[in-house]
Symmetry: C2
Subunit: 280 residues, 2 copies
Amino acid sequence: MTKLPLPAILINGALVDQILVNDRGLQYGDGLFETIKIRQGRPLLWDAHLARLLLGCERLGIRSDGLLKRIEQDCQSFFSPALQETCILKLIVTRGVGERGYKPSNHVNPTVIVSMSPYTPNVPCQETGVTVRICDTALGINPLLAGIKHLNRLEQVLARQEWDDPHVSEGLMLDVDGNLVEGTMSNLFWAKDGVLFTPLLDRCGILGTVRQKLLSIAEQLDITVVEGRFSPDVLNSAEEVFLCNSAIDIWPVVKLAHKTWSIGPITRQFQAKLEEVYAC
Amino acid sequence: MTKLPLPAILINGALVDQILVNDRGLQYGDGLFETIKIRQGRPLLWDAHLARLLLGCERLGIRSDGLLKRIEQDCQSFFSPALQETCILKLIVTRGVGERGYKPSNHVNPTVIVSMSPYTPNVPCQETGVTVRICDTALGINPLLAGIKHLNRLEQVLARQEWDDPHVSEGLMLDVDGNLVEGTMSNLFWAKDGVLFTPLLDRCGILGTVRQKLLSIAEQLDITVVEGRFSPDVLNSAEEVFLCNSAIDIWPVVKLAHKTWSIGPITRQFQAKLEEVYAC
């Protein structure tokens, strides 16, 4: 392995940092992305990230023949135990360069962009928890785009623009019907009477890889999980609340407006279990 | 004026054709675009295009100080009567290059991309009309993003991917509640009993510049226009149906599934009036 200085960007295997203006990723947000944590050269939840990416390709009709080979080849230089520091790999796959017009050509080759940045862990958030807010920006409902991690992210940009207060770590987003969905960059869980709850993501939202892993951990632990549509009011009676994603792992939520929570045993148990999964 | 060979691309005034991967236009579809017809070096409906672009900047919180000056300066070389051929200018404005994360920095400068392509007019469509279909892909509802021409266009890409039949020129899209909204790339009008109808675009869809011009032409002609939410079934009793956008002008619709229409006097009157507007 040749050690690359970070940040490093590879586009279709070449060490460049620009794409053609005609790439449909720019023209229409016609593509997908994954944000993956690399620990000592080992990508965490790698199979889950690739599976979601392939699901996205299938949903959008992006060619995926040879795609995994291309990705693994391009990522190879980052996947070595010699890489001691923890890093964040952002993988973008666009449909590729196209002619004018929404209709994609069948012959276009996807653009694969691998970019690697240093990771700054936020241990205090994991240990002592975070304050969140409810965003005014709502998520539109469209089952065709729900679950996958596509490049049309204006709703998240608008929501994240709503606050500047550095003490507020995340914003919770509702759908246009007023149901809880997720954070701007994370998935949401809460616990009550030993049962875990999380919003159903069949109409909007992203099926986070850590979210999916926590669902299987819950199954192993014999903890019931209810996925459904809930008003944000349900959080008032929740005993524990937490957020998760690939970069932050699990952040306990300790405050939302005037409501406060302690960090409870279920949250700590999931943090420990996730760490075990990562350590394997 | 130095005559540029077409296609030509200018990015922030420089004759290059690539943008940085870190541009938020690619990362999140965080930007806007306009498609403008240039006739003999004269941009049609220029003020309307710039007004919609500025509305979009305001809605997304994209910096617009100095933006119009930058755009006019970059477009200058294309706006000359020496340019005899009709062209299409695509203007993209992204929020600019950013750090990782949805939150935009306040200090980022927008990226302005001007690209000019030759225009191939489709006279038969304007003269003899087009066949359309109803798309299965629905438009999500989100008032915050409705009306503006932003870069999150996956719904249109999915819809346009539904058919290959070259005899079908456009697909009509419904919102997730089943109301008529627009074509994948055009706005929709229909006439009945001397009244003109068009979908209300307050929850999704793009407020087309030609659409807005036709509304003011209708006012001049004392033709009532009803903007509202309509089921696609209303088209069964429509006497005339037509589509419009900046590139196609007005296309009469003559066929949708088993239903056919003749090209009526209202359609022809609007085609003539729009041509008059363009000629001034």
